[in-house]
Symmetry: C2
Subunit: 278 residues, 2 copies
């Protein structure tokens, strides 16, 4: 069950001339609602504001968004919140209207608490055929242009595979369909550079902060399939599930290693209860 | 003034959970309505059906779409019709629902007849900084993921520039923000290959048919900036305006050459009145 507000209006709907629909001209955020708290909401807002500035969409009032998120969640304490900001309705044609009036969508979906920690014990991943295209204009942003992820996620339906890893158009391993990717090799944490591709995840940011706090060396290289196969530890991350240690990919098997565990413990301390041991 | 039908309902609106909004998970067509006729409607339908099949979206009933277009246009004889097909509403997450119920949007915007033939006498173009990313999964399709075109079209506001040409991420000239590109060199018609990027335009298809009819040699090479600069004739095309001969790009000047004129005459005979001489 989802409760939505569109421009503050409960159960509001959108015009078919909204540029979010017409062109994917907008951005979104997916936020974990845990024990009544919108987790890392400030980080989500920071990314949203950064994206709006990059796209030239008037920056939304985050106080108003916070208030609307509170309204939408009602008495729901655990679920998934979503914010969509589009450039709003406009006349025909790609050209953005000079004075855009953004559309604001805020929604909360209650989730069954039992599905929360499915990632913790380790997950199996596949490598998707659908590639992620590269374009430095949009690197790191969470825009509404997500058809590549949709097609990648459509490649498998077997429930034993939790996530699909994706390669860039030029053949480098970059992220999961809905997650960021980390490898561990020689006590070093590696995560792909997102300058030209991929979403700069909020949980990725928290992990990088925890890595710094723990004194772990971090590198942001171009990641190849060979590096993935040779990694000592592999995990994916996202806002809703924290860290998912990858224990299987094709014939490769990985343990849930020390460094992954240390980061999970760090995340658990910061309220990512999905990473709590046991 | 635009009249819309959403799933057949006049002035219908869309759910914020529609995957067209959430992910750009859908396709669209923009069709010229001229003297009461939806021009090349069969070609638009062919591309739409092809796209739906590629994306795994249930193919819409084109008879129903035709009927709805007729309803939406009322007594309007000249304007722009648009069809949007999305994968419909769905639960959270990229994964397409196994039984998608597509959303069907049909709209007609009446246009001022006086702006119809702005391209005919020749246009000035620029080369955009925003690149088009490459991905063979979507090559040629007109999906709702169009943020690259939006950002490219946002690069200029001076009315003397009619269109912006775009380069692929790897630096080849590929198309305009809302048009396909053609060059003439040594009596040969060149148009960029669209295997990995760009939209296979309906007017482009008609032009290629006319070229064949006229016995013009056609090639689909990778097009470089140098080839653009050295071309004898350059033109862009789209469904709404037919052919726009490019007469200026930076310091380059091009004439409206013989081959371009022959193709414009061929188009005029097929109902593209925007290409009618004089």
């Amino acid at each position: 069950m989802t409760t939505w507000l569109v421009n503050g209006q409960r159960d509001g709907r959108l015009s078919p001339t909204d540029r979010g629909l017409a062109y994917g001209d907008g951005l979104f955020e997916t936020i974990a609602l845990r024990t009544g708290r919108l987790r890392f909401l400030d980080y989500h807002f920071e990314r949203l504001v950064f994206g709006c500035e990059r796209l030239g969409i008037p920056v939304p009032d985050t106080d108003q968004l916070t208030q609307e998120l509170e309204t939408a969640r009602e008495d729901c304490t655990d679920g998934t919140a979503k914010i969509i900001i589009t450039r709003g309705v406009g006349p025909r044609g790609y050209r953005p209207p000079p004075a855009a009036l953004p559309t604001r969508v805020v929604g909360v979906t209650a989730t069954d608490a039992s599905v929360k920690s499915v990632w913790r014990e380790g997950i199996r991943v596949r490598l998707c055929d659908t590639r992620l295209s590269e374009n430095e204009t949009f690197g790191g942003m969470k825009t509404l242009n997500r058809l590549e992820q949709v097609m990648a996620r459509n490649e498998w339906r077997t429930p034993d595979i939790a996530e699909g890893l994706m390669m860039t158009d030029s053949g480098h391993v970059i992220c999961g369909t809905a997650s960021n990717l980390f490898l561990v090799r020689d006590d070093t944490l590696l995560t792909p550079s997102l300058e030209r591709c991929g979403v700069r995840g909020v949980m990725r940011r928290v992990i990088l902060e925890e890595a710094e706090r723990l004194g772990i060396v971090v590198q942001r290289p171009v990641v190849t399939r060979a590096m993935l196969a040779a990694a000592e530890e592999v995990f994916v991350s996202n806002s809703l599930q924290g860290i998912g240690p990858v224990t299987a990919w094709n014939d490769e098997r990985y343990g849930v290693g020390e460094l992954t565990r240390a980061l999970m413990a760090g995340l658990a301390e910061r309220g990512v209860q999905e990473c709590t041991a046991g």
